[in-house]
């Protein structure tokens, strides 16, 4: 028995299906925001802002977990302190401060520009924040690593 005739041409159903959605960069489509290549300062700042946000969030919980060692006792806390005052741990602290500085300063830029304030100076705001951040990070690094 032959199939009932339809008005649709052959392959119409397949053509009606939605096509794939291309996205930037490797990985899943939802990570398209993270592709830093061929981006301007704004796109890269957005990606770094999200990454540093995750770093700060992880550090927050890590910090709470470390503080809970105080509940264990004096000896546990003292041995932990000797570990975190090593040069390698202090270097990690510099990285953390860098993340906080970037997230904070870029957040100020995003809050201002995102409210319609200083829109035409958006790029200048970014670079001003970058200069302030690098200066503050340099001072903090020298201070933490004992050069000051």
């Amino acid at each position: 028995m032959s199939e009932p005739a339809t008005d649709e041409p052959p392959g119409a159903a397949e053509r009606a299906l939605p096509g794939p959605i291309h996205h930037k960069g490797p990985g899943p489509a939802e990570m398209g925001w993270f592709e830093p290549r061929r981006r301007g300062h704004g796109g890269r700042a957005l990606a770094l802002h999200r990454l540093t946000g995750v770093v700060i969030l992880v550090y927050l919980y890590l910090h709470l977990a470390v503080l809970s060692m105080l509940l264990i006792g004096h000896s546990a806390w003292s041995s932990f302190l000797s570990l975190v005052t090593s040069k390698s741990f202090l270097a990690l602290e510099v990285v953390l401060i860098g993340a906080v500085l970037f997230h904070g300063l870029n957040g100020i830029r995003v809050a201002l520009v995102g409210s319609g304030i200083g829109v035409t100076r958006e790029q200048a705001l970014f670079w001003a924040g970058t200069v302030v951040g690098i200066a503050a990070l340099t001072y903090a690094a020298l201070h933490i690593l004992g050069a000051l």
Partner: protein, 282 residues
């Protein structure tokens, strides 16, 4: 045009000296195939070859099944938007010499693909406010008898033109000269901004830069559209507040329509009221 002629010879009719060969990695996808892939083509290029010239050369001499959409060939129609080496470009004005020996050509991101380099712009246009009227510089505005919200100061000699015979005259409001609106009228609705937007990659419900910029344009010249309706439309979760201030849309816009600045002006209007919405725009 022979295969040995540079591709731009097809555009202007005069033979152009070949200088080198470039390799193009071109994205391919056909409905029903189910597989996306890249094909490579070596294309002879001259000093003025554009990416569109090269793609049409491939179509003519190597693979007639390659589908490319284009129309005006001079960056006015906005139909040939693609990604070249990951950056949004209009193929018709994207010079090959600005890229390396091998370049990757892909369709726009964040927009469903129809076939090869052609994307389905239906969803892009559906993002626009439904009440969006057609704005044309050829419709000189006339002064309304009762100025309402959204009017723009005094009527100048250039705008004080009575066109009561015009079928749309009841929509006209007193407005500055059309030259003040040149920037958004330059929007060619090519979709490059939506492709470049990092937020659109995460959220396909986001209406995107072009539609929001068009909404902000309505605040400048409502033409019968209620201002509060525009602001309510823009303040939805997938509207102006979804933007993350990346300014990628402005960076890739081929006509300097400054969509990011428009979105910020829209936010300012939402935050601080109607009298402040224009601050921040160049």
């Amino acid at each position: 045009m022979s295969p040995d002629q540079a591709p731009e010879a097809a555009s202007n009719g005069s033979p152009v000296e070949l200088t080198e060969t470039r390799r193009f990695r071109v994205y391919r996808y056909k409905r029903g195939d189910g597989q996306e892939r890249f094909d490579e083509f070596d294309v002879p290029v001259g000093p003025r070859t554009t990416v569109l010239d090269a793609l049409l050369w491939i179509q003519l001499h190597r693979d007639p099944s390659l589908t490319v959409r284009h129309s005006c060939m001079h960056a006015s129609c906005g139909t040939c938007g693609i990604q070249v080496d990951g950056r949004e470009e209009l193929a018709c004005v994207c010079s090959v010499k600005d890229h390396g020996a091998e370049m990757t050509v892909e369709p726009l991101a964040n927009i469903p693909i129809l076939t090869d380099l052609v994307v389905d712009m239906t969803g892009f246009f559906e993002r626009y406010p439904h009440a969006h009227p057609i704005i044309r510089a050829s419709e000189p505005p006339v002064q309304d008898s009762e100025p309402s919200d959204g009017d723009h100061g005094e009527v100048t000699l250039e705008t004080e033109v009575t066109l009561h015979h015009h079928p749309l005259h009841h929509l006209h409001r007193a407005a500055p000269p059309a030259a003040d609106f040149v920037r958004l009228e330059d929007c060619i609705e090519c979709g490059l901004c939506l492709s470049a937007c990092p937020v659109a990659a995460t959220s396909h419900d986001y209406v995107g830069p072009a539609a929001l910029a068009a909404a902000e344009r309505l605040l400048e010249e409502p033409r019968g559209v209620r201002r509060e309706d525009v602001l309510a439309w823009a303040s939805r979760p997938e509207g102006a507040w979804r933007c993350h201030v990346g300014f990628e849309c402005t960076r890739v816009c081929p006509t300097d329509a400054i969509p990011a600045e428009r979105i910020m002006a829209l936010r300012r209007a939402l935050l601080f009221g109607q009298d402040n919405h224009e601050e921040g725009k160049p």
